[in-house]
């Protein structure tokens, strides 16, 4: 490839983006202006620069006019930088001889009513890009091998689906789940809308598939503590918490739980604390793995060092699996890509005291209702409160969602699960009076509207209320009275709140460990809401399920399969290009002061000594594979001894000077 060293030939291409840019920015004027800039050989505009004919224009100029630096003024580089880099590569030019000016997101769209000023701004942006382009140097991509394993964090339906899909491609997959069993929220559900198939019946076979899969290694009761490295070569530290039970010996017979002195006295989280368990437990009978775990916060022996004469669980265990001395184990996993499938929490309705949750046991959340109606739940599936079937049930929707002062988003599943709940009460409690307070019924999915119509036809009364209208639930004479503005008071036996899906309350730690961002709604942020809904901004880390936003089961499964496909691509390729825009030590400037070493978050820099001209020369060495190109070293160095390629001191200075008209 030939490059015109000191006098580069720059081609400037202005995109109209249909009318997205040209309706505000006078594109022809910008083209004319670009022609006057130093080193600009050619300047053109086109309707859609990213389209095939647009790309062909650039390629033609590279070949015929010898253009060796390209500036495209169009949308955000976050959108099309890779597209145009590929164009340069196709035409035989180094892809890093490219610079983009963002005149759409940062200009035409943001200044739609100030055409002249927007045109001037576009000129400024083009001038700055040209100034940088002049100083761009070709860079060589570095290829590194990708480790042929994947990690899935979270063992709910999304994590299960993702792990199975990755493993079915013949890729070794670790599935890390923090609770003692996989299954997640879906295992807690009774029936699933709109088909009413039994949740456990469709989930448990998949759980078993995971356990049996030769390419899946399951790490339950384990926490991801640390993630180092980069796409293709992540190093993940996982803490396998002590179960105090040897899982190789435990056969899951349950005699220990029978013998436990706290049997029937410990709140059971799986049943949303509606039932009781022992201090040694499996979350639910179909747990995978079916291995017991001792709850260290409850177990008398673990808390006091003594439990009667001899711990009864230990006495009862014929397999000799119980080991109160067991310690946490820390393991390191090397993986190529990571899928995050950490699921969701439910909105805590005590934050809205008007709903009376926590004051009366007759006000429950949607998930509590699931356990109450489930045949594996604490009542064996009989809907009862204080031992009696409720005859009047009120459902209240949008609790903790669509709230402009709180979670503004729609939680997406509540309309349908409320319809399902109402249907289940209708089915199980003869002659029950059922009322749903709703604001808008959002029955958008396949079969949803049909299901909603069916439920309405079952004699369930849907009453509309505005979200801002006052509503109050108060306890009165062993019942709960629902006072909704504009509606007659209802004396109910049971109130079910359609509580919203929210991001896991304790997700902040994992977000930091993974270096992935959260949106204003706290859900993990995808790179592009439409075209890259499973990718995070950190290469090699993908999202599946409700950690990205509220979803029903079909959408979760679809996204998990998609994330699995995305995560498998680099692994199946076997190698990946690393961005060459990383740090480079300028040995003649570096005097080995080592100021840059401490700020580097990736420990990519080391101080070395070598012999030069008969004397010891100290200098810093940069590890290209570890460096992520943040550039903190460059800003720290007082001697211009280290730069980051593609963002060098001169390149950025040239942009600053171009903006201010200094030459």
């Amino acid at each position: 490839m030939k490059l015109n060293g000191e006098s580069p030939k720059i081609g400037v291409y202005i995109c109209e983006c249909g009318i997205n840019i040209s309706a505000t920015v006078n594109v022809e004027k910008v083209v004319e202006y670009a022609r006057t800039l130093p080193n600009v050989t050619v300047s053109r505009y086109y309707k859609y620069m990213c389209s095939d004919p647009g790309q062909a224009l650039i390629k033609k100029d590279i070949k015929e006019l010898g253009v060796d630096r390209v500036v495209v003024a169009s949308c955000s580089p976050r959108m099309h930088e890779p597209t145009f880099r590929a164009v340069l590569e196709d035409a035989g030019l180094n892809p890093y001889c490219f610079e983009m000016a963002n005149i759409r997101e940062h200009c035409s769209w943001a200044h739609a009513h100030e055409k002249e000023k927007a045109t001037e701004k576009a000129k400024d942006l083009v001038r700055m890009a040209v100034a940088k382009a002049k100083l761009l140097r070709p860079l060589e991509k570095k290829e590194v091998p990708v480790i042929r394993t994947a990690l899935v964090i979270g063992g709910g339906i999304s994590g299960i689906q993702a792990a199975l899909e990755v493993a079915n491609k013949g890729i070794k997959t670790y599935l890390v789940e923090r609770s003692p069993s996989i299954g997640g929220r879906m295992a807690q559900l009774d029936k699933t809308f709109p088909t009413l198939d039994c949740s456990a019946c469709i989930l448990t076979p998949k759980m078993v598939d995971v356990a049996r899969h030769p390419d899946i290694e399951l790490l339950t009761y384990s926490i991801v503590e640390k993630v180092d490295g980069y796409i293709g070569n992540f190093k993940v530290t996982v803490r396998k918490k002590a179960r105090y039970v040897d899982i190789d010996k435990c056969v899951g017979c349950g005699r220990c739980a029978e013998a436990c002195r706290l049997k029937g006295r410990v709140d059971d989280e799986f049943n949303e604390n509606l039932g009781k368990r022992s201090a040694i437990y499996v979350p639910f009978p179909q747990a995978v793995p079916l291995k017991y775990t001792i709850d260290p916060n409850k177990c008398i022996y673990l808390k006091t060092g003594k439990c009667g004469e001899f711990p009864p669980c230990k006495k009862a265990c014929e397999a000799n699996a119980i080991n109160h001395e067991q310690k946490d184990e820390v393991v390191e996993l090397d993986v190529g890509t990571i899928i995050v499938a950490t699921g969701y929490d439910l909105f805590d309705p005590t934050e809205k005291p008007e709903y009376g949750y926590g004051k009366s046991n007759r006000v429950i959340t949607g998930l509590e209702f699931e356990r109450l109606v489930s045949s594996s739940g604490p009542t064996g599936g009989h809907i009862e409160i204080d031992g009696k079937e409720p005859k009047k049930v009120v459902f209240i929707q949008c609790v903790g969602s669509r709230d402009r002062k709180g979670n503004e988003y729609c939680s997406r599943v509540c309309c349908m699960y409320t319809a399902k709940h109402a249907h289940l009460v209708r089915e199980k409690v003869r002659g029950a009076e059922l009322t749903v307070y709703y604001t808008d019924v959002r029955a958008f999915g396949k079969g949803f509207e049909e299901f909603y119509n069916r439920v309405k036809d079952e004699g369930i009364s849907y009453m509309r209320r505005e979200l801002d209208d006052p509503i109050e639930v108060v306890e009165k004479d062993g019942k709960v009275v629902v006072k909704a503005d504009g509606h007659p008071d209802i004396e109910a036996d049971l109130v079910v709140l359609a509580t919203a899906i929210i991001q896991r309350k304790d997700i902040g730690g994992l977000a930091k460990v993974l270096r992935i961002s959260q949106g204003a709604d706290r859900f993990f942020l995808e790179v592009h809401p439409k075209l890259r809904p499973m990718d995070t901004a950190t290469r090699g880390i993908f999202l599946a399920g409700c950690c990205q936003g509220p979803k029903d089961i079909p959408d979760t499964v679809a996204q998990a399969s998609g994330a699995a496909a995305r995560a498998a691509i680099p692994i199946l390729h076997g190698k990946i290009d690393l961005d060459p825009q990383t740090s480079e030590v300028i040995d003649k400037n570096c005097d080995g002061c080592a100021y840059c070493i401490d700020p580097c978050p990736y420990k990519a820099l080391t101080l070395i000594e070598y012999m030069r001209d008969g004397a010891i020369k100290k200098t810093v060495e940069a590890n290209e594979a570890l460096c992520q190109g943040c550039g903190v070293c460059q800003a720290t160095c007082p001697k211009q001894g280290i730069i980051v390629r593609g963002f060098t001191l001169e390149q950025i200075s040239a942009m600053v000077q171009a903006l201010l008209g200094v030459t």
Binding site: P77, K121, T538, P601, V632, A635
Partner: protein
């Protein structure tokens, strides 16, 4: 003349002043936030020209000083919220560095012309608000006095 009238005259005198402000946006949060502002069609003044850098921590204080001495009316540095840095802790360094720089700039009366803001990738609206706020603040301050001095 009442205070209000004084204000009006001052605004009129400065009415023609279109400041030139330089922005450094980190790639992961603030640049993405600026993209989102555009996609969402939030409107803001066209006075801030932004340079994309990978991390706010790589904004060399020299660039800021150079921009101010070369006549920029203001400089904005925007990065991820503390704790959310894509590079773990870069923005903490930015925060310390800019605080130190502003201390030095106080001596030259330039410290009010440097702004450090946190804008996440989901805060398009906030980005538009920040640009509006910064532009208005600089309009209030008037042109960079050093620019005039150089011109003479």
């Amino acid at each position: 003349m009442t205070k209000k009238e004084e204000k009006v005259i001052e605004m009129d005198e400065k009415g023609d002043f279109e400041p030139k402000i330089l922005g450094f946006l980190c790639n992961w949060c603030s640049y993405a936030g600026a993209d989102l502002a555009g996609v969402s069609r939030y409107q803001y003044p066209p006075n801030v020209q932004c340079i994309r850098v990978m991390c706010s921590s790589r904004v060399d204080p020299m660039w800021i000083l150079k921009a101010l001495t070369d006549g920029a009316d203001g400089v904005l540095i925007a990065g991820c919220h503390p704790g959310d840095c894509h590079y773990v802790e870069g923005n903490y360094r930015t925060r310390r560095r800019i605080a130190a720089l502003k201390k030095i700039l106080e001596n030259y009366g330039l410290s009010d012309r440097v702004f450090l803001e946190w804008v996440s990738a989901s805060e398009g609206k906030k980005f538009a608000e920040v640009i509006t706020k910064v532009t208005n603040a600089i309009k209030e301050l008037g042109p960079n006095p050093y620019k005039k001095r150089w011109e003479i």
